[in-house]
């Protein structure tokens, strides 16, 4: 058994961590939070130059060809740094959709541009509040023209292209749309995490190019499964950083003549946070194995990784604020950066609730003896 990343990827992680510690200290997401800049374009360019945007893209399409495990490793660091860049939208979703379902020609056209960071991609699914069930989509494509409205598309106002989910019937359910083309109206929407911009996008006759492999509503779910795993790593990176922050503060802050971290009220809270982080990390590793091998268990592995990451995300980041006391609630402390981002990522691919539903459905179609958990 080898349930760990290769030495090469561990090196990549260390390199990425150093790079982001240098290029994306908290002042960078704070800059995006405090200004009208929708994302850190300079950081994004640097990331693309490092080859991260093409990490999983095969070399023949202009990528680095390190595979999906490399994306997981990078995602964790992106999460740790609360980096204000469209990495998840462009890499886990748009790039992945084209790799999974695109034609050879589409791959040749788009993947090199996504790999180089020349263009930013995103994924547009949700059309209403509530569960984003692909089967209930109303957006549609007729004669290559897309009609429909998508809510709160992450990075929707900065992306160049979007993979748009539509109710495809017997035709493909995912379509590529040039967001700068005609028939596309974008409106930036305010969210509780302004370090990642979002837009409402209305399509009225926009030109839409089907991804030929995306036939059936299940392909939308498959894309979400593939995206959920690196997203879980991004979430794990964030909660690890929040835990580290709480831990450092608990040692440094004194009350009643001793460090607050010597009170069991705080100690046991931090132990609970640690438990959540470790469980989320272990489940994310299983997800990594599943995306890496495109295993049949992917729907289960992705759901489990996602659920654990979502639970940890909320618990750890809110208790990080709590550990900091009143200071934790100030703009000046970084606690809220992790708190906002954790809730954003928890909702990004549909809430934990939706994934629990998916998980049990998947488990039911299998023999229950596969369930043995120990």
């Amino acid at each position: 058994m080898n349930f760990e990343f290769s030495d090469e990827l561990i090196q990549l992680r260390e390199q990425a961590r150093r790079f982001l510690a240098d290029r994306c200290p908290p002042s960078v997401p704070r800059r995006i939070l405090d200004t009208d800049e929708p994302y850190a374009a300079d950081l994004w360019r640097a990331i693309a130059e490092m080859g991260w945007t093409g990490a999983a893209i095969p070399e023949e399409y202009g990528g680095v060809g390190l595979g999906r495990l490399a994306v997981c490793v990078l995602a964790e660091e992106i999460g740790r740094a609360v980096a204000p860049v469209p990495f998840s939208s462009s890499v886990y979703l748009a790039t992945e959709a084209i790799m999974l379902f695109g034609s050879e020609q589409q791959k040749q056209t788009w993947l090199p541009k996504l790999a180089s960071g020349e263009i930013i991609g995103t994924f547009a699914l949700a059309e209403r509040p509530g569960a984003s069930d692909p089967a209930k989509l109303t957006s549609s494509v007729a004669a290559g023209r897309l009609a429909g409205t998508k809510l709160a598309v992450p990075d929707g106002d900065i992306a160049d292209i979007a993979v748009v989910a539509v109710n495809g019937g017997d035709s493909p359910w995912l379509h590529l749309v040039d967001l700068k083309g005609a028939g596309v109206t974008r409106e930036t929407v305010a969210t509780f995490d302004p370090t990642r911009s979002h837009a409402r996008i209305a399509f009225s006759g926009a030109q839409a190019e089907p991804l030929p492999g995306s036939k059936g509503a299940d392909t939308v779910r498959t894309l979400l499964d593939y995206a959920a795993v690196p997203m879980a790593f991004e979430q794990v990176g964030g909660v690890q950083a929040a835990l580290d922050m709480a831990n450092a503060y608990a040692k440094e802050r004194y009350a009643f003549g001793r460090p607050i971290g010597s009170f069991q009220g705080i100690k046991h809270k931090l132990a609970d946070m640690y438990i959540q982080v470790e469980l989320a990390r272990s489940n994310a590793y299983y997800g990594a194995w599943a995306v890496h091998t495109s295993a049949a268990e992917l729907p289960i592995a992705a759901s489990v990784a996602r659920i654990a990451a979502c639970e940890a995300g909320w618990f750890v980041t809110k208790e990080n604020i709590q550990t900091h006391g009143g200071m934790g609630f100030t703009w000046q402390m970084d606690c809220h950066l992790y708190y906002r981002r954790a809730k954003l990522l928890r909702l990004a691919l549909g809430g934990a609730r939706e994934w629990k539903h998916r998980l049990v459905n998947e488990l039911r179609v299998r023999n229950t003896t596969d369930l043995a958990a120990a």
């Binding site: 699914l125 509530g130 569960a131 509780f192 004194y254 003549g257 709590q322 009143g326 909702l347 691919l349």
Partner: protein, 411 residues
């Protein structure tokens, strides 16, 4: 066992309603913005002061205070009844609460007759607005660890230091201040309590930006701020005991966490579609609703038990100590569950979101409710020690002169 007023209570309630109908607007049913802070709206402070003056003239300020303090000499239950009624109207009275319900009882209890005569009535009429200057950046839950210095200079005290989590310094006329007059004795013994004129030179007020982006609190800095000794409340070195009077009144006034509650979650569940139909039909959503409803009702009837005690002339039991910690955590749980239901569209802020966007808004202010007025951890210590009688934690600072108490790297 009934929910009815006694005849006397009913008569008082009618009197309160008559006053309110004549002087205020009833809140719209189902409005969710009731909890949103209104004092920043244009003209809000003037309207609030105007209403407060009329409320005072009508005898509804200090209802349960003795007549010699300027109160009505009524009962605590009358105070509760008036507040129950006032809550149905669109009025802004909370900003005068520090002056009326924290500062004045402290002054009446510990101050001189001259201080009482000078300050109580103007506070009740909102002619003078008050703020509180207790918390410090290095103190947190350990309030008595405050470091702001008060040094005697002739008939005056000279104040240097910094306070935090101040609400309203920028519009207040006076503040109640606790400062350290002697760092060479154990921490609770070296404090002194003052009334500070907020127009005194040397006071600098800086707003604190909160996670929600708004600034409802200030840091307040003191540089050689001078206070006449006549504005000292209670003996030199007795500041902690004096402050406890204020803190008891503060805790007594502890309230629910404002924001989305079961009703709003119910409305959300009725308006949203999940993968298997309307959210309200989903068994998992239903179980959550039932659990939240049960917790909300538990709080409601816990308060009723406290009111009943008041109504019988008893002190409310310790059960009221649980309200803040339960309410604040319930709010976080409800808003998080609500956002999960809204799903991918959830991050969007604004009135166009389901239930006027209060779930998203609450995400950003709710952490404060588990911290302000005593953290969850402090509240649980209080329950454990004062209600259940468990022993205190061993005190690392016990008996040490204040200047020798360990503070870590920071000073």
């Amino acid at each position: 066992m009934d929910f009815e007023d006694t005849p006397e209570e009913a008569a008082f309630r009618a009197e309160a309603r008559a006053f309110l109908d004549a002087n205020a607007e009833r809140r719209k049913p189902g409005a969710v913005e009731g909890y949103r802070r209104g004092q920043d709206a244009p003209g809000a402070m003037e309207r609030a002061k105007d209403f407060q003056r009329r409320k005072y003239e009508a005898g509804f300020v200090g209802i349960h205070w003795p007549v010699e303090w300027g109160g009505r000499g009524g009962t605590p239950i009358q105070h509760v009844i008036y507040n129950q009624e006032e809550a149905k109207y669109d009025v802004l009275t909370a900003i005068f609460g520090i002056g009326i319900y924290l500062a004045q009882p402290t002054i009446c209890t510990w101050g001189t007759p001259e201080q009482r005569d000078r300050f109580v009535k103007p506070a009740m009429r909102a002619d003078e607005v008050w703020c509180q200057l207790f918390s410090e950046p290095g103190g947190g839950s350990d309030l008595a660890a405050l470091r702001t210095r008060a040094e005697k200079d002739g008939d005056e005290w000279v104040i240097n230091g910094q306070k935090i989590w101040n609400s309203g310094a920028h519009y207040s006329d006076f503040g109640i201040l606790v400062a350290r007059s002697n760092p060479d004795v154990p921490k609770h013994e070296g404090l002194t309590f003052f009334i500070l004129d907020m127009k005194t030179p040397g006071i600098e007020i800086r707003p604190i930006r909160q996670v929600s982006g708004s600034s409802h609190f200030n840091e307040v800095f003191f540089t050689n701020v001078r206070i006449p000794d006549s504005r000292r409340v209670g003996p030199v070195g007795a500041g902690w005991k004096v402050a406890l009077t204020t803190l008891m009144n503060e805790r007594h006034g502890m309230r629910d966490a404002p924001g989305p509650d079961v009703e709003e979650l119910f409305r959300l569940a009725q308006s949203i579609e999940l993968e298997d139909g309307p959210a309200i039909d989903n068994a998992a959503v239903q179980e959550k609703l039932a659990e939240f409803y049960t917790r909300s009702q538990g709080l409601k009837y816990t308060k009723f038990r406290g009111i009943t005690a008041l109504s019988r002339g008893q002190t409310p039991g310790p059960e009221s100590s649980i309200i803040k910690v339960v309410a604040a955590n319930k709010l976080q749980d409800i808003l998080s569950y609500g956002l999960d239901m809204i799903g991918m569209a959830g991050p969007t802020m604004g009135e166009s979101m389901p239930v006027a966007g209060i779930f998203e808004e609450a995400l950003l202010y709710s952490p404060a409710l588990r911290l302000a007025g005593g953290t969850d951890e402090i509240m649980k210590n209080i329950i454990a020690e004062r209600v259940l009688g468990l022993p205190q934690d061993p005190r690392a600072d016990k008996g040490l002169p204040f200047r020798d108490i360990p503070t870590g790297a920071r000073k």
